[in-house]
Amino acid sequence: MARGQFDEAGADLELQGVTKRFPGFTAVDDLTLTIPAGSFFALLGPSGCGKTTTLRLVAGLEDATEGRILIGGKDVTSTKPHQRPVNTVFQSYALFPHMTVLENVEFGLKRRGISDAGQKAHEALRLVELDHLAGRKPQQLSGGQQQRVALARAIVNRPALLLLDEPLGALDLKLRRQMQLELKSIQGEVGLTFLHVTHDQEEAMTMADTVAVMNKGRIEQLGAPEELYELPHTAFVANFLGQSNLFTGPVAGTTADSISVELAGHKIVVPKSRAKRHTGEVTVGIRPEKLRLHTEAPTPVPEDNLLGPGRIADVSFSGVSTQYLVDIPGVGSIVVFAQNSTFGPVAAEGAEVWLTWHIEHGFGLLDEPGEESKFASDTDTQTLAVQRRKRLESELEAG
């Protein structure tokens, strides 16, 4: 990279068939991906899915076993980290403890021989509103302040590509939400390409233009946050991004624009446009908040799916909504979120209920039934419900 000058603003990042194998396992498996210049791209996935390895491959901190990495059209696969126009905001921040905040921010500029490094560093610190602490050592700052210094240290170099490795992971919830907004507005201001790695689906969805959900070294699905949420293609995505009720059964009937799946005597209709497969065993799903709960048997209408009767096995109140767990014989447990728009719970534990939803809200997955379940056993609906409840509780406490 040329000394003494900055790159032009953000650049495209292209990964072509990138694979990284460690002894004993494959962290990244034949990954092909293009991130357009100026976008805010999030790699989302559980720990161990290969997202951090992908980031480190782009930064040059790991060498790819196979494949090519291009930044702004230039092949950087075999260049060293210090030769790449890329900067990282590390999860641990990795602020040099023996240097002041200002020296940390100047570090990269000085290495590249850029003139008036000091002034540029002060500007970057002003952008993150920490210029008054320029003379301190990193240990003397709070977690949120350290995070902002790490950000300033990276963006001051105007990298073509800024990599964010769970940079908000160490912050508490409130600060995290605040930093999410700040990061997003800074990205708008500086116009760089951001590649953000996170396991927090809410963070990915609120911040990124495009989210790629990664699992086992591959990208399961990629798209705008709304698209991923409303129309997940795989059970993994359906359950990693929010919650889903999934049912598997044979396709029993087909019309010009819909399929119907047979499920313990019930028929579940899904539009063809929202189903990835139209024959054989098909898994269909519905988000809990799209379900309507009835205490009396509703009259069947063609635009709705109907399940029931079932019994309410659990009710948990969480402020904005109430979560019901409904057992339907032959179908299993179904999670329902009901907005608390009326006062008090609608139905009590043990009550007999029916569930309906608009057929346009359902979705059909790509997964082959019987194929090894892509989501770990601890992410079945019920566990997720409990986890979510716990999280909400702690969130309420923290708030």
Binding site: M1, A59, G60, L61, K80, P81, H82, Q83, V86, N87, T88, F90, S92, A94, L95, F96, P97, H98, F107, G108, R111, R112, R153, A154, N157
Partner: protein
């Protein structure tokens, strides 16, 4: 390990240590503190007094009276000036060699071997292995290896790299060589300790911020391992400056290589010139105290022990 003694660690727990019954503290502290006062502090005072004594009027050899005879210091500096200078010269040279030898080794054990815990442990055992064999015997082993008929000299002479009548043992080179060898573990261990704690993400951050491996080493790794280097330098320099085994005639030295330790020993145990030995001890001690006080000013007293 005790070699962390000089390595500055964060001093925790002091603030939250509760003030509890003073009788318990006295019971815990007093025996050990009294012991150290009696057998460390009092001897230093006794040494100070001895250094000012003058020969007894009875004229017996080894018999002295208390006095304020500060001229003892002038006398020993005049007589043993070369030995004093030589001691510090040898010790500084050996410390520099030990540092150059040890840093890469400590880096290898602390950083390269970090993913392999068992290998790392075994490598450390190799470093401290010399501690488990007699200091004197390993020095004698070098004497025999470097002796005139020994393998090294024969080899060098066969290659004509060394004149036929030249020697290794008994020279300044062999004394410095011995000092370097014997104190290598004291240099490796504290540097290892600080490199082992070095967070490699700082190194990655350096690379990420356009620093070449060499610059990253100079700007990040080296300053972050500075506490270990300082400890290692002190732990090597102090015993090396006071050592008299390596420089002894029966080991790697000759009369021309005698260091301050040798003359202290000779004056105390052979010549029975106790005031001279005490004055020399005090000169050695004061130089080292100056070094230590720099160190204490840098890192505070809390980290000392």
């Amino acid at each position: 390990m005790a070699f962390g003694a000089f390595a500055s660690t964060e001093a925790p727990a002091v603030e939250q240590a509760p003030r509890r019954k003073s009788r318990v503290v006295l019971f815990l502290l007093l025996p050990g503190i009294l012991y150290l006062l009696l057998f460390f502090a009092v001897p230093l005072v006794s040494l100070a007094l001895t250094s000012l004594q003058q020969p007894s009027l009875t004229g017996d050899i080894g018999s002295y009276d208390y006095a304020f005879n500060w001229q003892n210091y002038v006398v020993v500096i005049e007589r043993y000036g070369p030995h004093i200078l030589r001691s510090f010269g040898y010790a500084v040279t050996a410390t520099v060699f030990a540092l150059l030898f040890s840093y890469p080794l400590a880096y290898f054990i602390g950083v390269t071997l970090r993913p392999y815990r068992l290998l790392q442990g075994l490598a450390l055992v190799l470093v401290i292995a010399p501690f488990f064999i007699s200091f004197l015997l390993r020095t004698l082993a070098w004497k025999q290896i470097l002796a005139d008929e020994g393998p090294v000299v024969s080899f060098l002479q066969a290659l004509q790299l060394m004149p036929a009548d030249a020697q290794i043992t008994g020279t300044a080179f062999s004394v410095i060589f011995g000092l370097t060898y014997n104190f290598i573990p004291f240099m490796v261990l504290p540097i290892y300790t600080s490199l082992e704690r070095l967070d490699l993400r700082y190194v990655e951050a350096g690379a990420d911020l356009y620093a070449s491996p060499a610059t990253t080493f100079r700007k990040v790794t080296l300053p972050l391992s500075a506490p270990g280097i300082i400890s290692g330098v002190l732990l090597t320099f102090i015993p090396a400056a006071g050592d008299y085994i390596n420089a002894s005639r029966d080991f790697l030295g000759s009369t021309d290589t005698a260091m301050i330790g040798n003359v202290i020993e000779a004056n105390f145990l052979v010549l029975q010139n106790y005031p001279a030995a005490a004055a020399l001890s005090f000169i050695l001690m004061s130089v080292i105290l100056v070094l230590i006080s720099f160190y204490v000013r840098r890192s505070g007293t809390e980290d000392l022990v």
